[in-house]
Symmetry: C2
Subunit: 301 residues, 2 copies
Amino acid sequence: MNGLPNNATIVEVGSRDGFQNLPDFIPTDVKIKSIEKIIESGVKDVEVTSFVNPKAVPQMADASEVASAIIGKYGNRPGMRFIALIPNARGAESAVKCGITTVSIVISASESHNKANVNRTVSESLAALRDIAESFPSLAVRLDIATALGCPFEGKVPEKDVLSLVANALDIGVREIVLCDTIGVADPLSVDSLTRAALKEVGGHCPIALHLHDTRGMGVANTYAGMLNGIEKFEASIGGLGGCPFAPGAAGNTATEDVLNMLTCMGVETGIDMGRYMEALRYVQANIKSDLTSHMAKVVV
Amino acid sequence: MNGLPNNATIVEVGSRDGFQNLPDFIPTDVKIKSIEKIIESGVKDVEVTSFVNPKAVPQMADASEVASAIIGKYGNRPGMRFIALIPNARGAESAVKCGITTVSIVISASESHNKANVNRTVSESLAALRDIAESFPSLAVRLDIATALGCPFEGKVPEKDVLSLVANALDIGVREIVLCDTIGVADPLSVDSLTRAALKEVGGHCPIALHLHDTRGMGVANTYAGMLNGIEKFEASIGGLGGCPFAPGAAGNTATEDVLNMLTCMGVETGIDMGRYMEALRYVQANIKSDLTSHMAKVVV
């Protein structure tokens, strides 16, 4: 009636994208406890960790331990989806060993960003994605399309380049496609346009999710713009952690509690209890990072 | 084509609502210089000051000096609208003496807030509004409807109470009606619903503007929701100053630069140059308040 979906899914990425971007090593038990509190609030979709080279990303050196602990505790809870980011087949192997059944792989829509990020062309990355999907048929593979709404090197990214990745991903058989506003330059109109085109491209054969940043204060507005087109899945990070904010104090990832609050206010069902999520936030504030960029972290006292 | 208006007007209220809420007296020349820089960026609608009792609001004790200086300098610039907030006929007299031709009067949609704010019933406030409109026929009177989207004492405010004020304001002949989210609890759906109803109520006979707060991170999203219904006027405050944020570090008024950036990104014409507006912001940051809540203040380095 109001054009919005009745239900929405929040995919918590604070435990991966958020933690990964913090300079000081977060003790493994604090990581686990944070995720437990997030799950206890009702979150069912969690990007738990990433299986990357611990020399390149020391923060994620405890990936197996964290994933095993969380899956050990909540693996039997109905409807849970434990996601891990993986860069390659080796990461996929490690993820499978811990009981992970869903993995995210990042490919940028812009060549220069993909080169800078993973030192591959987009074609090479797509070939690697296909290899992983074929080699690990038990894994549900998600594709995160980075720079889908703007690139730090190339500026505006042509929609056709994003849609070409979407088409390839469909062909490979990925289970979810995430359009990422990697540097926080999307506006409601660009989100409206790209989500409309992407939904048309997948034709109902694959869910489209959004990963939005609040760098310029449009993360929540862009969420709303996506919802008006029927997007129902949103990645967000507790406290707004992570997302490579490039200026001190600037926001990065859109904060889960800001998105959750809007959804709750609008009567969109998420299965997450706002009050209990704020308890998870207080734990993160007290044990990981106190100066968070999110609005709700500051206003709820 | 995209459902948005081609043009939008930003009404800068930082110089009134923003400054008024700051505890330390801002030197008169700093107030004037800030407004000059805002106007030089292309802003044409400025709430310059308020003509209130200086004992109650010492920050606004220099109202006449500020208004006279700005109108003296820019009074002949085409399209300018210099607005002052006034609480009563005495304020209107002072405003007229300085050359102000547009005044804002605040009435709350909820009885308890109106009582707390001006110690009058809503009916008494409406009678006073009518008196002023009749006594000062040369003045364009605007009505700011406070708590239109939520009240700190009563919670959700029935739309019919807001629409009743709108109908009364039309009857009195006000020139603009501003729906204010005084405590920052509006969400895109409540803005959608109220603006739709208010636009229907005025039937094109009076412009409807929005005054939104970013307290819970929805200020920009709510701006977009209003625009989708055809709202073209938005009050906003430089740096997000003011708006009574009730927790340290929490946001109050939606920041002009955050709204302006979204409009600029979306190609909506405002007549304001983003780069020059950021110069005004840097002046305010350096001379009035350095720890601003706005997103653009933090990200543009």
